[in-house]
Amino acid sequence: MGSNIPYLKTLLDNTQLNITLQRLAHQLVENHQNFGNTAIIGIQPRGILLSDRIVMLLRSITAQEHIDYGKLDITFHRDDVHQGSIHLPEPTDISFSIEGRNVVLIDDVLHTGRTIRAAIDALMAYGRPNDVELMTLIDRHFSRELPIQPDYVGQTIDTIITQKVKVYWQEKDGKDEVVLIDQGE
């Protein structure tokens, strides 16, 4: 403590991360079988790196050629526009109807729950799903500011506010790894 050097701890290394992804994908298959009425929706920008992987695994596990998979941008539904910062939108790409579907929202880190609140809001503009589930790779479960809980969790961790969780993906960052960064006081 008191030092300015960020403290790093690996939460999931390459092997562990891939085992966790396998488990999450299998849990989805367990609950959704052939994904006939299910739609997978990744949250922009970082959530889609996780959902891309999950959907790839689902396709190989279930041998289903077609799984409805969309990407959702929540920028305009955020609740912090007037807190001195502004976010730039990423494209939303949902090319199917979500009316009456079982939607699985996917994001990499669940922290305050505000992103998910915004995502549910944004989602409802596209129709009325039958139900909505939430998958997250890392659940920082003591940091919640809204009553939102995940249905599928990679790893649950206890963190304090000065800590940050960073998820690295091979496709984007050149490695598969999840680390905890402590920025000190």
């Binding site: 305009f76 730039l88 596209y126």
Partner: protein, 310 residues
Amino acid sequence: MSLSVKHLLGIKELQPQDIELIFQTADTFKDLLQRQVKKVPALRDTTIANIFFENSTRTRISFELAEKRLGADTINFSASGSSVSKGETLIDTVQNILAMKVDMVVMRHSASGAPWFLANHIDAGIINAGDGTNEHPTQALLDAFSIREKLGNIKGKRVAILGDIMHSRVALSNIYCLSKLGAEVMVAGPPTLIPKHIAELGVKVEYDVKKALEWCEVANVLRIQLERQHKPLFSTLREYSLYYGVNRQMLDSLEKEIVIMHPGPINRGVEINSDVADSKQSIILDQVENGVAIRMAVMYLLSGRGEIVE
């Protein structure tokens, strides 16, 4: 990356990156406007006053729609039927409106420079919706956005602005905007309607409309602004139409198909004929559609007034 300005007063003050940023944001809003639910709550805690000291149909409706689709609360004010006719000054009028806790002002005024004057005296964000014969920045942005949508790019494109350049704020804003984005710009029309030193802005000047059409890929035809012409600058509208109006015959005689634009309102049969305005070469209604997305982008980007987080 964020906008380099706090207000949108004129295109003259924008950086090319600002314009790019507005376009990228407008792309997202354009997608949104194709959806069933065309509304997002991005500005749900913002109140915007539309203050129009001059007549407007398109711009005013477009701003209001953009505000509503961003979830903002709006109030509308027009000079006719207000205390302005009792002699209240511009600052007093606006201060009184702001005292009712308004965050952003969209203003059109007949005096050039009015929005700059206002920006020096009040705190709220200001968007210029047209000031006198000076600038009309959102119109220029939506014009350039429409060209970008139609031709894929603006850099290197040849755009001719035809007609009443002298009295047109659309012309000036378009010249700034297109030049900043790397287009070649020409103005064409009767010598009496082209300001003397306009070439200093880096534009070509042409007095023969036919030659201008042969040169360009896009022709932005402007309205003859009779209300601003205090002395006769051409003999009759019929003569103007004959020599400077854009008609079908003229377009058919060109070897290529050019894109036709008009900021509205159209004087049919004067600067443009119906068989041109309503043809498939014309993107006049696309301009109107894009106006909402552009104005949403501008208001969204100005509302944060801080750094953009990645």
